[in-house]
Symmetry: C2
Subunit: 354 residues, 2 copies
């Protein structure tokens, strides 16, 4: 597999310059599209599946405005479980595409900004992903990719309703805009429940790191729109930007409050977490995420000065189960993985050679 570990591009050198990157990890826009006159994937036969994969592959790799060498093509059936898991952890494919038994594929730009899933729930799921708060940029790139495809193929589209999709919740614009937010102060202060309720009332969903029904590892929360009908793409993005602005403002105010109210205890918590990460010999995934969340907060607040946010973002990416197994191919049991995880984190934070 040619996808790099650690997401150097997404979480790497650009992370410092991107807007709101103290709280907003990534911005994503994805569009659900289906080819006219073909059944939805769940009802497709083998030949139809193959046809759609090949047609989209042909469009992307022969397009004049994009260079074929900028894209990678993956047939899901040819990837092993770890490779698929890594793509899920990098938010380049969905859990659904990983798990389904149909003929599926993904076309992913090497910079990981564009990802096109083929034969997931819909024929196409076009995704654009940017670091920090860059939903407008993501919408724009998603639209341009969508245009390249729609020039060559006719989508299932109804003048009144909009794009037709397999699941009614995606009908209309077929758009989902989402941001991944780091909310340690809101979590610590116990305000999370209130925010979840407020978001639910205005059609916005808040979930854990990997989408629906997943836990909020390391205080990371994904905020996205629930419905796609009755709003323009721009309205959907505007709403998510708006609620994100309110949440990030609250998170920043709470961080400042907590720090001012109990400076020593705040610094103590942040530095203890750093000390444990730099020294522990056994670290579970869950504890690592918790400690890395504290350290990220410490860096954002200017308390920890000698570690770059980039390093923490990279660690958050590579300690995930799939990515970790790529780095530790010979570790078999849970303890071995926890020992390996601790070693990777320790060496990285102590700037030792691996």
């Amino acid at each position: 597999m040619d996808i790099e570990m650690g997401g150097e591009f997404m979480f790497g050198s650009e992370a410092k310059k991107v807007p709101e990157s103290d709280i907003v990890m990534t911005s994503r826009v994805r569009m659900a599209r289906n080819i006219n006159e073909y059944p939805f994937p769940v009802r497709m036969d083998f030949d139809q599946s193959i046809f759609i994969i090949n047609r989209i592959k042909e469009i992307i790799f022969s397009n004049e405005s994009t260079s074929p060498k900028d894209f990678l093509y993956f047939e899901l059936q040819k990837l092993n479980n770890i490779e698929k898991l890594v793509l899920v952890e990098k938010h380049l494919i969905s859990k659904e595409l990983m798990d389904n038994r149909r003929l599926g594929a993904a076309i992913i730009s090497k910079d990981e900004k564009i990802s096109i899933m083929i034969n997931e729930e819909d024929h196409l799921r076009i995704q654009a992903m940017f670091p920090g708060m860059q939903l407008d940029e993501a919408l724009d790139l998603c639209n341009r990719t969508d245009d390249i495809i729609s020039e060559k193929i006719e989508y299932a589209y109804d003048e009144k309703i909009g794009y037709l999709t397999s699941c009614p919740t995606n009908i209309g614009t077929g758009i989902r805009a989402s941001v991944m937010l780091h909310l340690p102060a809101i979590t610590m202060s116990g305000y999370l429940k209130g925010i979840l309720e407020a978001c639910g009332k205005i059609g916005v969903t808040v979930r854990g790191l990997y989408g629906e029904n997943t836990e909020a590892l390391g205080n990371m929360f994904q905020v996205s729109n629930q419905v796609t009908l009755g709003q323009t793409e721009e309205e959907v993005v505007y709403n998510i930007k708006n609620i994100t602005k309110q949440i990030t403002n609250q998170e920043r105010a709470l961080r400042d409050d907590l720090y001012k109210q109990n400076t020593f205890m705040f610094e103590d918590k942040v530095f203890r977490s750093l000390g444990i990460l730099k020294n522990a010999r056994v670290l579970t995934s869950e504890e690592s995420h918790k400690l890395l969340s504290d350290v990220r907060l410490g860096i954002d607040m200017g308390i920890i000065k000698d570690i770059e946010i980039k390093t923490i973002n990279e660690l958050m990416a590579i300690i995930q189960p799939g990515s970790l197994q790529v780095l530790l191919p010979n570790s078999s049991g849970q303890l071995e993985r926890d020992v390996g995880r601790a070693e990777i984190i320790r060496k990285k934070l102590n700037k030792l050679k691996e």
Copy 2:
């Protein structure tokens, strides 16, 4: 006060060469003596107290075999509470001498090996203290100091019973031999209760860091003889050496077992404690002792290689309440002291300049 902080001599450069210093912190022998024809301190008047103090002072500071400039003289009434507490923490005077309202004094050799308390429970308490397992050396030095005094003054002594003392438990040889042991593995494994019971049956007492009724901070235990009657001085010392040998053997075997059985978890515990000490911004005395105990164990076991046992011993000494207040004269509240304590430990372990 001319006593140095940190006990450089006792815990300093010699610590590595001394016997059994992985487990035995110090060896102490003290002898209870009273001057003939004078009432015990509890019944003395002012003039008698003064006479005894001056007489002993004269003997020590005019003795030909010892140099007057090797000794320091302290009148307890002229010391402030912090200075007295520091002497207690360094095991140079007892809590009793610190707390009692009689005219008391102490003559302490600058190397802190000899300490003579005057007008504590008995007229004289002569103590010799050495690092590691050096009870024979302590007994020898105690005897030589005792000889210097007994040449010039007549002790209360009965041919049949031996030395007469204020409390009957000290009658006879008047000797108490004690060792301070670091027993983390015995504590962790839950064998402590059994050892306490076994010791009790053979007339040996096991107590916390500062003697009777004190907690075992940082897994430190003081092992000493209960009775002084019916045994020679050599027998008392032999017994304590013997039981200490058994306890240290068990401690070492348990350390090896624990390490072999769960190497990663053992190393994890030790290094996490080091990581917290190196990074925490708030540390209570109790937590510091616990963490330092883990780190000392890690050094003894060869797991932590870049920190000297000397550094840990020094830290154990200076983070005690009195010593800490000397280092942090302006800290008023508990939080301020915990912050100051964390800073001292952090700088020392990170080898930063203070």
